[in-house]
Symmetry: C2
Amino acid sequence: MAVPGRNSPPAALSRREYSLLNALLTRGGRKRSGRCRCEGVRAVRELLAHCGGLVDFVVATERGLKALDRPVNSPRIISEKEFESCAATVNSQGVIAVARIPEPPDTAPAGDYILALDRLGDPGNFGTIARTLLAVGGRELWYTKGSIDPWCDKAIRSGMGSQFALILRRFDTLGELRDTALRSGFPNFFIADPHQGEICFECPDLFAKSVLVIGGEANGATAPPPAARQVIIPMPGNYESLNAAQAATVLLFEAVRRRGRFKEQLS
Amino acid sequence: MAVPGRNSPPAALSRREYSLLNALLTRGGRKRSGRCRCEGVRAVRELLAHCGGLVDFVVATERGLKALDRPVNSPRIISEKEFESCAATVNSQGVIAVARIPEPPDTAPAGDYILALDRLGDPGNFGTIARTLLAVGGRELWYTKGSIDPWCDKAIRSGMGSQFALILRRFDTLGELRDTALRSGFPNFFIADPHQGEICFECPDLFAKSVLVIGGEANGATAPPPAARQVIIPMPGNYESLNAAQAATVLLFEAVRRRGRFKEQLS
């Protein structure tokens, strides 16, 4: 991997743009600027499709722009060699967008449930969960402090930019998250637990205006707030525990299955 | 990451052992020796629990051996610094086992279904699917040529060593895989398709002695053999497609849900 920032900026990029591109690889850089990097063909397509107005500028090679196959406002075209000094991945697809991180709207959350991630540390898991939530038509993805920044470049790549199509809300604690959910009309609060709880396939109100909490990989969720209910995903193999993204997937598709009306979705 | 093989072997390791450790990072090295590397605390535990007899030797730091918390036959104890020259990961857990790759038994496959991966290229996905299959109590994981080697170190880390508890069978083509399944008493053959097919939640014989094929990330499965049926996972979000590991998870837990008898599993 080329180390960004070691070279002078490519001719097509201003020094400010080049510095920003590098700074956005750090959490501090994203916080200061309120921006993030979105790298790769599918992620940038998702960004342009859902939040084109957030894009500051797109850096691409000729090859990357061709693969993107979408209209881009004055792209900064650079050479493959120059791109190496900008890319965060080894086998780059030749396109990076710099975009503002969207603010969650003030409107109340809609839908039957809210998916919440508690101290989820792995960017690949966060991104995969975001992508899966979008696939099932979900909108609200809430998370607590101690989780990986969902706007870091790895989480965006892994989520293929699905973050831009979702509403992400961050909370300091699980208790604060629970209070906000309650005020927003989501009274049920379920925490996925590997050892005990109501069985997810049998729990009747699992998606009745509820919050579904998936805990971090290493430690599980933090101490549950009052009136939280545990829900368990049965595992006949008696294996230690599921990957967090797999646990989220089981719950999200259980909601799809219960809702039915499959034919409508295939038209 | 330290580049293995640049230094002379640690005192606790013979030159042959040290060379082997490095050679096993390549597919050629694994093929020649019939062995693989298994790195990390959970992966080595899984290996010792299921296939302790396959282990050639274990290399560990004092810290790694303590974290492993399992009896090990004459471990090669090395320093943290020496371990860096052996490890494939940056934040290593201080334990690597070298083990023979198990041969699949000649016995016919058991169970209601066989999970099959067709040209699945991503080691993280392969490992996650193996881990999830083990969690639902499955045993048979078949795959076609063109898939990532499930015994590469990345797939083993991602699978946390679940490969050792499963029966993995490799086939040159999907047709050959299908023929073997047929001869083994698995006549139904389903291929997960992102665009069309029978709906997975409604297909009555999805787990009636069947093969469930998940295609590779980029290209999907190869041309289906005769009499293959397509099965679709409904996605209300109309998103392009699910990650392969998420698709496998949905099908595997649909089998769990249909089988019922959840209470038994929680005892």
